[in-house]
Amino acid sequence: MITGAGVADVLRSMAISHVVTVPDGTIGRWENDIERAGIRLVRVCREGEAWTIAGGLYLGGAAPLVLIQCTGLFESGDALRNTLHEWKLPIYAMIGYRSYLNQDNLPGDTSLVFTEPILAAWRLDVHFIKDSGQLGEIAEHYRACQAASKPGVALIAEGRS
């Protein structure tokens, strides 16, 4: 199980300054640990805001990260398109993949149908995280994306409590 403390350690190792987020039942539980790590949470009303606030933070010299659920990815397409592909800002995101490990709550969840094709359609460099043992890979992936000045996504499998 991925814990908030584990995520906070990784974000601190990445020198993330701000996490711009809309919570879900998995990623929302990490908020306290992220704040305790000294990282500023920017809670937004809708996921599209997250990409553009992160864009402004990046332009201003901060090191933001977007933390949203895949449903928020679906909602925020135009903001993502403009920020990542027109202004070409190398924003990194952690995106919760709803129901991937367990469909008990939402049998037939169409998040499983659309998440990966939509990430591919947006031409994002995705690294799939299926268990806590892979958390360190997020920092490696983030650094590789930053070095290449390109956006990236850590896709976080959700569904196991």
């Binding site: 920017v42 805001e49 332009l59």
Partner: protein
């Protein structure tokens, strides 16, 4: 009512050299028409409509020592009304949002907005305390420096005259190159 050029000219005149100014939609067009670009201008063209306020918030949070002025449209504001709540919750004292309230989507042919809400009341309802309205150009020009000097976040609603047929703003160049230049200027 205020002509859009008369709404923006005082901002250009009073803009400090370290202020960031974000413009979008018709305001971006008129801003570019009024004079040369400043290194800390963000002409938000091409845009994702509704997100100028969010870019402004991000820059304001990252650069608390600079004033960030966002010249937004009313249609853009409606498209991301929640961003006012986010701004209120983060409460950056250095952020100013000026809403050009003309009741129409001007750059697409001046079609009416779905409604013309009281933006000042909406801003106050989010908890933003510094909220101001002007419908006269001379009054706005006279009060602007005092309004912008207040502790923010500040929201200014200007009753602006629509100009059907005004051309849409054109991108003044590669967005990615302008982003890199703005990032360098903000680091300076």
């Amino acid at each position: 009512m205020i002509a859009l050029a008369d709404a923006l000219t005082p901002v250009r005149n009073a803009r400090r050299d370290d202020d960031v100014v974000v413009t979008t939609m018709a305001a971006a067009k008129v801003w570019m028409d009024l004079g040369p670009a400043h290194p800390l201008d963000m002409v938000f063209v091409p845009s994702c409509m509704g997100h100028a306020t969010s870019y402004g918030l991000g820059i304001a949070l990252a650069q608390p020592g600079r004033r960030v002025i966002v010249c937004n449209g009313d249609g853009s504001m409606l498209m991301s009304l929640g961003s006012l709540v986010t701004i209120a919750s983060q409460s950056p004292p250095n952020l100013v949002v000026i809403i050009m309230d003309n009741g129409v989507y001007e750059v697409t042919g001046a079609q009416p907005l779905p409604a013309r809400p009281d933006f000042a009341a909406l801003a106050r309802a989010t908890g933003i305390a510094s909220v101001h309205c002007f419908g006269d150009a001379a009054e706005w020009a006279g009060a602007m420096e005092r309004v912008l000097a207040q502790r923010g976040p500040t929201v200014v609603v200007l009753d602006v005259e629509p100009v059907p047929g005004r051309p849409a703003p054109k991108s003044p160049g590669s967005a990615s190159e302008r982003a890199a230049a703005l990032k360098r200027a903000l680091a300076g």
